[in-house]
């Protein structure tokens, strides 16, 4: 080596591998307005579809007349359930083992449910046609309150399930009951409660919300009559699953279906499942032989595509009088709307809700969930979280605060006392999960030190005294949340979607000149996969990230995958990427040994090259080896340098974090100002710190919205009163607080690069942190639990109930 040879550090920097704040590849087209979103697609002869929808939440369809609609200039056809029934497409299977109506047949079950699909030569004509569909309804009594759904005299909602006492998840105990699911040890938990010194009990409700990505759901379906092949471009977080489902329900062979997910303008779980618009566009294309585009508008998106949450959790904790938890019991009513369209792995009707023991060492826990039907939109999906993990985290973090209050302990202190200890990992929870790794005490202490927690509590005490003296009308709250997530679905022994195991994939091919392409089964909707997967490859293979093209979303070329949601891309496809790289590296090592005329074992890896041990001037870079793979390989070896890996994860991963928030509540208006939000996240190995920070910012903004005002609300008649952005709370840059981010790094021991995933952590930890902060502000006045969302009027009502308005 001479002075001209770049050092290992310089070479690593050039690679822009893991750990680098690599600028994003995607940005180049996005900042120039050259993204390729579904609605940008124009095909010759394209036609457009729009739905006529029900104004009623529950009604029988007495008459459906499409004559006027068909007469609107530009309208080509109108589909109703009667047209879909012979194809058996008037219902479609959901991912939760239920069926959902594509077009309403005899009755409608939620406001804005699809009743007819108008197909026209322009979107404007389709809209005119949709307005001209004449429907006569006979209104029926509605079920809106999930607690009343299983009343003996509750109206029957699902006529199609009449007499069916067995559902996809076992026995149904009532005509509006979907499933009962339980986890944990009921006897051990009951015993813990029986002898408990202290218990708390609270109904903790997580309101219905909606992921509301900025781009709504849409597709273009194009059936080629000559070839008998269907191509569908769409907003699909899981394009391969859509292809398989499309094949099963349409009977078109899977190899003749091409599903392409182009650029997607945000997903957050909204774009995992299939919607009537996709089915109807496909049918329209098959029937007309023309490409059919369906683009929903925002009101349709918010009021009919899958909602999230709507979990009502009766929560109890048993503890010793000095604050050691001994048992957790949660009974949940889950409101699924009219159809159970939950996007959960098959065996988990309540998702991974039994992560509800959280970050704490509960010796015993029992969880029971009853799912019910109501006259609301079907669902629910995991809105920026792993399945039901936000619900679980909110439940336990709120409950621990309530317990701390009863014990007159500081909420951080109670948590420290009950954390799973570092030496207990891998940790088996009372509901059967094996947490891979964690160091909770270190993270919590770092968070508390960073915000000077002690000083904040001192300030709070002073402010409380000032309030009592009438010197201020502001209440200061300090919110603490320590979450543990379960992400990266998942091991095939426990996770499948409609029977397909939840592995994921990466296929990597290096070209003769040393650049390459990687295709994966995941699908970014803004997470920066084109940038980050290349960083993994850069570190593993020593090829600059800029020399790797990353592709997702085309089911013809990408290896099969289950898509991107539940923070699974890094844990599963990230692992597949590393494993595929290692196959390539192993072959490259043999080629290098051959060309250097040494034994394989005489070589060592140095950033971007194999070099001879003890003789470092003799080396072959991976770039040179790529050429060699096409030029001259050892006798008996196949040419080429590529590999594919389908990764079946041995376990989930368990990211965690400590969040602390400071708020000031104006009791006279109920307005809350977020003074400060500090988020410490541990996602194991950090691939791109810039992107991680961006994910945290975005997830925290969504958490802020959920905690402080977001709600999909129905009135007593089943009208959705929050169906547009006038009322559905999406904060602007003005309301959104500033974020402080920090981290610890506790790698996952079972993951090839030790990474855990991070995209959803901020939503999981953020919501309880905000909610705990607002609740904390009122504690000293005797308040135990104020439900979310903490919008102005609700906060004011809580203050009013405490007699604060004199």
């Amino acid at each position: 080596m001479n002075d001209m040879t770049p050092t290992a550090a310089e070479r690593a920097e050039k690679l822009q591998g893991m750990g680098c704040k690599r600028k994003r590849v995607e940005d180049i087209r996005f900042v120039q307005g050259k993204g390729n979103y579904v609605d940008d697609l124009r095909l010759p002869g394209m036609i457009y579809g729009d739905f006529a929808r029900s104004p009623h939440a529950h009604a029988r369809i007495k008459k459906l007349d499409t004559t006027r609609a068909k007469a609107v200039p530009g309208v080509l056809a109108v589909l109703t359930a009667a047209d879909l029934k012979p194809l058996n497409l008037h219902y479609m299977p959901t991912l939760a083992g239920d069926v959902a109506a594509v077009l309403a047949e005899e009755k409608v079950l939620y406001q804005n449910q699809e009743v007819a699909f108008v197909i026209a030569s322009s979107p404007y004509a389709a809209a005119d046609g949709a307005e001209a569909v004449d429907v006569e309804y006979e209104a029926l009594p509605v079920v809106i309150d999930p607690f009343k759904a299983m009343a003996p005299d509750a109206p029957v909602l699902r006529d199609d399930l009449k007499g069916k006492t067995e559902g996809a998840h076992g026995k149904r105990k009532h005509h509006n009951h979907i499933f009962s699911w339980q986890s944990g040890d009921q006897a051990a938990t009951d015993a813990a409660f029986a002898k408990a010194e202290v218990t708390i009990k609270e109904m903790i409700s997580y309101q219905r919300v909606h992921p509301c990505p900025l781009e709504t759901c849409q597709c273009v379906a194009s059936f080629d009559k000559i070839k008998g092949e269907l191509t569908v471009w769409g907003t699909f977080q899981a394009p391969h699953v859509i292809r398989t489902v499309a094949s099963l329900i349409s009977k078109i062979p899977e190899h003749k279906i091409h599903v392409i997910a182009p650029d997607i303008g945000g997903g957050f779980g909204n774009k995992v499942g299939a919607y009537p618009g996709y089915i109807c566009a496909i049918v329209a294309s098959i029937v007309t032989g023309l490409p059919c585009k369906w683009v929903e508008d925002r009101i349709e998106n918010l009021s009919t595509t899958s909602f999230a949450r709507d979990y009502h959790m009766q929560t109890e904790i048993a503890a010793t009088k000095d604050g050691k938890v001994t048992g957790l019991r949660v009974y949940t009513i889950a409101d699924h709307g009219a159809f159970d369209a939950c996007a959960d792995p098959t065996k988990w009707p309540a998702g991974l809700f039994n992560i509800v023991t959280g970050s704490y060492d509960f010796p015993a826990a029992h969880v029971l969930v009853d799912g019910v039907y109501t006259n609301k939109a079907p669902g629910g999906v995991a809105y920026r979280c792993s399945f039901r993990v936000t619900e679980a985290a909110y439940c336990i973090e709120r409950a621990m605060d309530i317990l701390a209050q009863k014990l007159k302990m500081d909420p951080a202190e109670l948590r420290m006392k009950n954390f799973i200890r570092r030496e207990q990992f891998p940790y088996k929870s009372a509901t059967g999960w094996e947490y891979d790794s964690g160091d909770y005490h270190t993270a919590m202490q770092k968070a508390m030190d960073s915000v000077n927690y002690k000083k904040l509590r001192e300030e709070q005490k002073k402010k409380q005294d000032a309030f009592k003296r009438g010197e201020t009308r502001d209440l200061m709250g300090i919110g603490v949340a320590f979450f543990t997530e379960i992400v990266g679905a998942g091991p095939s022994r426990s996770c499948d979607i409609l029977g397909i195991a939840m592995f994921d994939s990466a296929e990597i091919r290096l070209h003769p000149t040393g650049t390459g392409i990687c295709r994966l089964g995941t699908k970014s909707q803004g997470q920066g996969h084109e940038t980050t997967y290349a960083q993994i490859i850069a570190t593993e293979l020593g090829i600059p990230a800029d020399n790797i093209t990353v592709e997702e979303g085309n089911t013809d070329t990408a290896p099969y995958g289950l898509g991107t949601y539940g923070s699974r891309s890094t844990p599963v496809s990230g692992a597949a990427t590393a494993m595929a790289c290692r196959k390539i590296k192993a072959k490259a090592q043999m080629i290098a040994a051959y060309h250097l005329e040494v034994h394989d074992d005489d070589l060592e890896w140095d950033v971007d090259r194999f070099r001879v041990k003890g003789n470092p001037e003799r080396f072959k870079t991976m770039t040179e080896l790529a050429w060699a793979a096409y030029n001259r390989v050892p006798p008996g070896m196949e040419p080429g340098l590529e590999a594919v890996n389908y990764y079946d994860p041995p376990n989930f991963t368990f990211p965690f974090g400590a969040y602390i928030c400071v708020v000031d509540v104006d009791v006279d208006t109920g307005s809350t100002k977020i003074r400060r939000f500090y988020a410490l996240d541990d996602c194991g190995t950090r691939i791109n710190p810039m992107i991680i920070e961006g994910q945290i910012h975005g997830g925290l903004a969504e958490a802020f919205a959920i905690a402080m005002g977001q709600e999909i609300h129905y009135d007593a008649q089943g009208n959705c009163t929050t169906a547009s952005l006038l009322d559905y709370f999406l904060p602007t840059a003005v309301e959104t607080p500033k974020w402080e981010t920090d981290w610890t790094t506790t790698p996952s021991p079972h993951h090839p690069i030790g990474a855990k995933g991070v995209g959803e952590s901020p939503n999981v930890g953020g919501v309880p942190c905000f909610s705990n902060a607002v609740n904390d502000a009122f504690k000293f006045l005797g308040s135990t639990h104020i439900a979310m969302p903490h919008d102005q009027w609700r906060t004011w009502m809580a203050a009013d109930k405490l007699g604060l308005h004199g």
Binding site: K23, R24, E26, D27, I28, R29, F30, V31, Q32, G33, K34, G35, Y37, D39, D40, R42, P123, Y124, C212, P213, L214, E215, T216, D263, I264, G265, G266, F268, V295, D297, R298, I299, Q525, G526, Q527, G528, M690, I691, E693, G694, Q695, I696, H697, G698, G699, L700, A701, E702, S724, L725, L726, L730, T732, A733, V734, T736, K738, W739, E740, T741
Partner: protein, 166 residues
Amino acid sequence: MSKVQVSLKVNGKAVDGLVEPRTLLIHFLRDHLNITGPHVGCDTSHCGACTVDLNGKSVKSCTVFAVQATGADVMTIEGVANADGTLHALQEGFREMHGLQCGFCTPGMITRAYRLLKENPKPTEEEIRFGIAGNLCRCTGYQNIVKAIQYAAAKLAGVPFQEAAE
């Protein structure tokens, strides 16, 4: 309803079309002219994804009929780049500061920021946040968008960009 003629300038080029009076400007741009940078994100004029620069004003093109824009000078994201083809300081800043993720709000956001910096070349953070209150983003949490605009403001003013300490 019979169609009417509209003639305007888009990104420096004269264009015309024959449209129904009810044709919204966003649809005229996207569907008639194939200018797909500005996007539709809502139905109630809240999200700002459709923002264009019309006669020197930031305007939500989903709330203007194409006929109202007859004779106007319209700029979209496709026209933001510098005359020599290099990226505008804002486009550079959004990339440098990670001010975008899914990219859907980005055309409207940059087009609005373009006008904001002309209204106020040295905005404070508060003024930036207030200045983009008509543009919603679901991915970034806004913090890096603010930084991107600050980066661009510094570059346009020819001063070094100081990232505020966290």
